[in-house]
C-alpha cells in the first residue's frame, strides 16, 4: 500500500489532462510565458510523454518588454526539452510603438490579448495549454479545465460544459478553440514545492539579488534596460529585491526580500500577507471584475 502525496496526485492529474489533449486535439500548442507556472507545466508535459519529447510546440506571445533573464531561460528550456519554440510579436503594436509607459492598459490589450489571438489564428491551433491556476483569482476558480472559446476567442462563463470525473469533452464546433489549464488545481505553494522537489529551472528573478529599481505609485520597478524612461531627478537605487510573478518588466512590481534560495522563497511566500497577483497592474483595471472582463475578451 503506497499513499500518494498531494503533489503526486496533482502531478498525475495534470499529466492525464495533457495526454487527453494530445490524443483528441488536432493541433495543440503550449503557451509558454517563462514564469514559474509555465516552468511547472512544461515539466509536466515532458513527464507526460517521456521518453518522447512533448508532441507540440511552445508558443511565447512576446510583448518585447519581458525581463532579459526571461528571454534567456526561454531559449534554454526550448533547447533542453527538444521542442519547437514559436515566438509571436504583434506587428501592429510594434508599428504603433505601443509600450507600457505611454499606453497603460492598451499595452496589454495589443501585445498580449490581441497578440495571442493573432498567434493562435496564424498557426491554426485548436487547443492551447495555459498555466493558470484556480487559486489565483476569483473568476479563474469557476473556469473549466477545458475552457472553450468562440471563433473570436471570447469566453462565456455562463455557458460552460459540465466537467465530470476526469472525463474531458474535447469535441469542438467549427471555429471554436480550447484553452486547457492542466494545473488548475495547484496552489502557489504547490507550484513552489514541486519546483523545489523536481529541481526545475526557473528565472533567477524569483530569487533576491541587488537590482536597480525605482519606486512609482507604491510599486518597485526594476530598470531592466535603457528603454526605461527615468523621470527628472529619478535615479535607480540598488535594492535587494525579488519577484513573485513575472510579466512585462515595467508592469511588474518587485518585493524587497533577502530570499536567495528556494526554501527561503517558499518561507517568505508562506509568511507573506499579500496575494500573488497584487504586484501586477493588470488585475486592477475595470474594478473588481478586471480579470473576468479580460477573459471574456480573449485574454488567457
Amino acid at each position: 500500500m503506497k499513499t500518494l502525496t498531494h503533489l503526486e496526485r496533482l502531478e498525475a492529474e495534470s499529466i492525464h489532462i495533457i495526454r487527453e489533449v494530445v490524443a483528441e486535439a488536432e493541433n495543440p500548442v503550449m503557451m509558454y510565458s517563462v514564469g514559474k507556472d509555465s516552468a511547472v507545466m512544461l515539466h509536466l508535459a515532458r513527464k507526460a510523454f517521456y521518453p518522447s519529447p512533448p508532441p507540440f510546440p511552445l508558443l511565447h506571445v512576446d510583448t518585447t518588454w519581458k525581463f532579459q533573464e526571461m528571454y534567456k531561460l526561454r531559449d534554454r528550456m526550448a533547447t533542453e526539452s527538444g521542442m519547437e519554440l514559436l515566438v509571436y510579436q504583434n506587428e501592429e503594436a510594434r508599428a504603433k510603438g505601443i509600450n507600457p509607459f505611454d499606453h497603460g492598459p492598451l499595452h496589454t490589450d495589443m501585445w498580449k490579448t490581441e497578440g495571442l489571438k493573432q498567434a493562435l489564428d496564424k498557426w491554426g491551433f485548436d487547443a492551447a495549454f495555459g498555466g493558470a491556476r484556480r487559486d489565483e483569482e476569483k473568476s479563474r476558480a469557476k473556469e473549466r479545465i477545458f475552457s472553450f472559446r468562440t471563433a473570436s476567442h471570447g469566453w462565456d462563463p455562463k455557458n460552460q460544459r459540465p466537467e465530470l470525473w476526469n472525463l474531458y469533452n474535447a469535441r469542438k464546433n467549427k471555429g471554436e478553440s480550447i484553452r486547457v489549464f492542466p494545473i488548475s488545481n495547484w496552489t502557489e505553494l504547490d507550484v513552489w514545492q514541486y519546483i523545489h522537489l523536481n529541481d526545475i529551472p526557473i528565472v533567477p528573478l524569483y530569487f533576491a539579488a541587488k537590482r536597480p529599481t525605482v519606486e512609482r505609485d507604491g510599486m518597485l520597478l526594476m530598470v531592466d534596460d535603457d528603454r526605461f524612461p527615468l523621470e527628472p531627478g529619478e535615479k535607480p537605487v540598488e535594492r535587494s529585491v525579488r519577484f513573485r510573478t513575472l510579466g512585462c518588466y515595467p508592469l511588474t512590481g518587485a518585493v524587497e526580500s533577502g530570499a536567495k534560495t528556494l526554501p527561503e522563497v517558499i518561507q517568505e511566500t508562506l509568511l507573506t500577507t499579500t496575494s500573488e497577483r497584487q504586484g501586477r497592474a493588470i488585475d486592477k483595471d475595470a474594478g473588481g471584475a478586471g480579470m473576468e472582463k479580460k477573459k471574456q475578451e480573449g485574454y488567457f
Binding site: T3, L4, T5, R19, K47, A48, L164, N173, Q267, E292
Partner: protein, 647 residues
C-alpha cells in the same frame, strides 16, 4: 495584518493548525513535512441560506488562504454589498463572477483550496438553486466526501434529502452532517440531537449506512478547527480533524484488481513502444501478467516507465507508461487489466442518467459516449422511470429533461470495457455528448450488462461479407439519398439502380414510402418514430451490404444525427451520403404528391420543411443541385462517382 479584531467573525486565537512556527524556524523541516501531505477532495451541499459559502470562506480564512489585500477588498465589499452588517461576509470570498456578486447567488461550480499540515483540500462549491442537480453532480463526481449542511433552525428539509440522495447516487461514501448556525439556536443539545435522529431515519431509507454528525457555526467558527466551549456536550471530532483523517478514495482503489485505460501510445522510435495512462485501480509491476481488452490478448509487463526512472511498482492514481515484453496490439481506448481478473466487455447496459442540457433526451438518437478513453456511439431507450429528487418517488418517463435523473437501458455500437460504477468510477462513469452541438448533455453510471448482450452471442459464420461480395464481383456500398419531400430522391435513385443493373451490379432499392407499408408500418411521423424508422432502414442496409449488395435508399432522413448513426454502422468508405439539394420553394412548387398543400393547411403535421426541420448535410459525398442538373445527368454522376471510388 489589517485590523479585523473589531469583527465578531474573527476566529478565536486557538486555530493552531494555521500558523505553523516551523515555517519561520526551520523551513526545510517544514517542507519535508509538507511533502508528505495527502489530498482530500470534498463537496459542500446546501442551499442559499444554509451558510455554505460562509463555511468555505471560514475554512480559507482560518487556514490563512486569504491574504491581506484580499481581506481588505473583502472588508470593503462586506460593507458595500455584504449581508452581515458590519461583520465580514465570508460568502463574498467565494462568489466569484461579477454577475453573481450583483445577484447575491453563486451560479456554477467553483473550486477552492486550503491546507493543513496533514492534508491539502480541494472544495467543490456548488450553488443552491434550480440548476442544483447538474452542478452538484458535477462537483460530487470528483469528491471523496460530502458535507451536508443543515440550518439548525430549520432541521431536515426537502433539500437535505435531495443533497443526500445525489451524494449517495454519485457514490460518495463519506458523509458529514454539519448542523450549522448552532449559534442561532443557543447551542441547544436537544435541537441538535433531534435533527440528527431525523436525518438518521431518512438516511437509512436511501441506503446511507454511515454518516458523521457535528454541531457547528461557520459564522462564529464553532467546532471548525477547534472544539467549541459552546458545545461542551459534543465529544466528536472538529470538522477539520475529521477531514484530515478520513480515508481517501485513492487508497481504497489500490486494493482492487489492476486497470488502466490507454490514453496514448508512446512510440518515439522503433525500440520503444509504451502505453500511457492513469492507473484507475490496483497496482502494476514488471513481470505482472496483463490482459488487453476488448481483444482479450495477454502479455507481461516489462517496464513501468516515468521520467524519474523506471518504477518497481505503480499504484492507482499515478500516471505512467507501461511496456510489454512482446508486441501485441494495444491502442487508445483499450484497457490494460490484471490477466486473471479482467473487467467485462458488453454493448448493452442498464444505467442511471443525469440529464444536463436544455434539450431533452431524444430516445433512439445516437449520442457519443465517453468512458475512460473509449468513445463510441450510443442510443438510449425510453427511461424505465425517472426519480423525483425531492420525494425519491419513481415516476414514469418518456424522456429526461434538464436536471432530471432516470434509469434507462443504453446500447453502444461497439462493445466497451466496463465495470459497475459502484465498483469502479473510472470504468463505470461516462458522459454523453450531442453529436451536433458537441455539448456534454448527460452524466451516466453503468450498473450492469443486460443479459441479452451476454446471452445473445454473435453466431460465427463461415461465409462472411467478403465471400458474399467476391461472388458478386463487387464492392458493397450504401448510396444514402437525403433531401426534402419532392426533391427528386426516388426518381434519381430509380435511375441509378437501373444504370447499375445494366452494369451487372447486384443492387437493392429501399424506398421511404414502400418501407412504411411493411417493415415500418407501425411507425408514425413524430421525431422519435422518424429516428426509429431510419435506424431500422440502417440495420437492413447493413445486412444487405453484408450480403454483398449495393444498396440505394431514398428517405427524407431529415436529421444529421441519424444519417451519421447509419454511417457509423457501416465499414469506412461504404456509406455515400447523396444530398438531393432542391430548395424548399422548388420542391413545394412541384408538390408531386400534394403533401405540401396539406401541410400548409395544417392537415398534415410534422412535415419536413414546414413544421419539422431539415438538417442539410454539411459534407455529403455527393451533392446534386436539381435546379441545374437533369435526373439523368445526376444518375450518371452518382454512378460514376461510385464506380470511380470502388475500382
Amino acid at each position: 495584518m489589517t485590523d479585523t479584531n473589531t469583527s465578531s467573525a474573527t476566529p478565536s486565537g486557538d486555530a493552531k493548525y494555521v500558523v505553523d512556527d516551523l515555517i519561520a524556524q526551520d523551513i526545510d523541516a517544514y517542507l519535508d513535512q509538507h511533502q508528505h501531505k495527502t489530498m482530500l477532495r470534498f463537496i459542500t451541499c446546501g442551499s442559499v441560506d444554509d451558510g455554505k459559502s460562509t463555511l468555505i470562506g471560514r475554512l480559507l480564512y482560518d487556514s490563512k488562504m486569504i491574504f491581506e489585500d484580499q481581506l481588505a477588498a473583502l472588508e470593503d465589499d462586506s460593507k458595500k454589498v455584504g449581508t452581515q452588517g458590519q461583520d465580514i461576509d465570508f460568502a463574498l470570498l467565494v462568489d466569484g463572477l461579477a454577475a453573481e456578486r450583483e445577484q447575491g447567488i453563486t451560479i456554477d461550480v467553483a473550486y477552492r483550496f486550503f491546507g493543513t499540515e496533514k492534508r491539502k483540500f480541494i472544495v467543490a462549491d456548488t450553488p443552491g438553486h434550480e440548476q442544483y442537480t447538474r452542478n452538484m453532480v458535477t462537483g460530487a463526481s470528483t469528491a471523496d466526501l460530502a458535507v451536508i449542511l443543515i440550518d439548525a433552525r430549520k432541521g431536515v428539509l426537502t433539500q437535505t434529502r435531495r443533497h443526500s440522495f445525489l451524494a449517495h447516487l454519485i457514490g460518495i461514501r463519506n458523509i458529514v452532517l454539519a448542523v450549522n448556525k448552532m449559534d442561532l439556536v443557543d447551542y441547544d443539545q436537544s435541537t441538535y440531537e433531534h435533527i440528527v435522529a431525523d436525518y438518521r431515519t431518512f438516511a437509512s431509507e436511501i441506503g446511507i449506512e454511515h454518516f458523521v454528525p457535528m454541531p457547528i457555526s461557520g459564522f462564529k467558527g464553532d467546532n471548525i478547527t477547534s472544539l467549541s466551549e459552546n458545545t461542551p456536550w459534543y465529544d466528536g471530532p472538529t470538522l477539520v480533524q475529521h477531514l484530515e483523517t478520513v480515508e481517501v478514495l485513492s487508497s481504497v482503489n489500490q486494493e482492487k484488481p489492476f486497470r488502466m485505460a490507454v490514453q496514448w501510445v508512446n512510440r518515439p522510435n522503433l525500440d520503444f513502444r509504451g502505453f500511457s495512462g492513469l492507473i484507475a485501480t490496483g497496482s502494476v509491476k514488471p513481470g505482472d501478467k496483463v490482459r488487453v481488452l476488448p481483444s482479450g490478448k495477454t502479455s507481461t509487463v516489462s517496464k513501468v516507465v516515468t521520467m524519474d526512472g523506471d518504477l518497481d511498482e505503480a499504484v492507482a492514481g499515478q500516471s505512467v507508461t507501461i511496456c510489454f515484453d512482446d508486441e501485441i496490439d494495444c491502442s487508445r481506448g483499450d484497457v490494460i487489466a490484471a490477466a486473471d481478473a479482467p473487467p467485462e466487455v458488453s454493448d448493452q447496459f442498464e444505467s442511471t442518467l443525469v440529464w444536463m442540457n436544455d434539450e431533452a433526451l431524444q430516445v433512439g438518437r445516437g449520442y457519443w459516449l465517453k468512458l475512460g478513453s473509449q468513445m463510441v456511439s450510443v442510443t438510449v431507450q425510453q427511461p424505465k422511470y425517472k426519480i423525483d429528487v425531492n420525494t425519491l418517488d419513481q415516476l414514469a418517463a418518456k424522456t429526461l429533461e434538464l436536471n432530471e435523473i432516470g434509469v434507462a437501458e443504453i446500447s453502444t455500437d461497439k462493445s466497451i470495457v466496463f465495470e459497475a460504477y459502484a465498483d469502479n468510477r473510472s470504468l463505470g462513469g461516462f458522459i454523453l455528448i450531442d453529436k451536433m452541438t458537441n455539448a456534454t448533455v448527460a452524466a451516466g453510471m453503468l450498473h450492469f450488462s443486460l443479459r441479452r448482450a451476454q446471452n445473445v452471442h454473435w453466431q460465427a459464420i463461415d461465409i462472411g461479407r467478403k465471400q458474399h461480395a467476391d461472388l458478386k464481383n463487387q464492392t458493397p456500398a450504401v448510396l444514402w439519398f437525403t433531401g426534402l419531400s419532392g426533391s427528386g430522391k426516388s426518381t434519381i435513385a430509380n435511375l441509378v439502380e437501373k444504370k447499375l443493373h445494366r452494369m451487372n451490379r447486384h443492387t437493392f432499392l429501399l424506398d421511404g414510402d414502400n418501407v412504411r407499408h411493411g417493415l415500418n408500418k407501425d411507425l408514425g411521423f413524430t421525431e422519435a418514430d422518424r429516428i426509429e424508422n431510419i435506424r431500422r432502414v440502417g440495420e437492413v442496409s447493413k445486412l444487405m451490404t453484408d450480403a454483398g449488395l449495393i444498396v440505394v435508399t431514398a428517405f427524407i432522413s431529415p436529421f444529421r444525427a441519424e444519417r451519421e448513426m447509419v454511417r457509423a454502422m457501416l465499414p469506412e468508405g461504404e456509406f455515400y451520403e447523396v444530398f438531393i439539394d432542391t430548395p424548399l420553394a422548388v420542391a413545394e412548387e412541384r408538390d408531386v404528391k400534394g403533401l405540401y398543400k396539406k401541410a400548409r393547411s395544417g392537415e398534415l403535421k410534422n412535415f419536413t420543411g414546414i413544421d419539422s426541420p431539415y438538417e442539410a448535410p454539411e459534407e455529403p459525398e455527393i451533392r446534386i443541385d436539381t435546379t441545374t442538373m437533369s435526373p439523368e445527368d445526376a444518375a450518371t454522376l452518382i454512378v460514376d462517382t461510385l464506380m470511380g471510388d470502388v475500382q
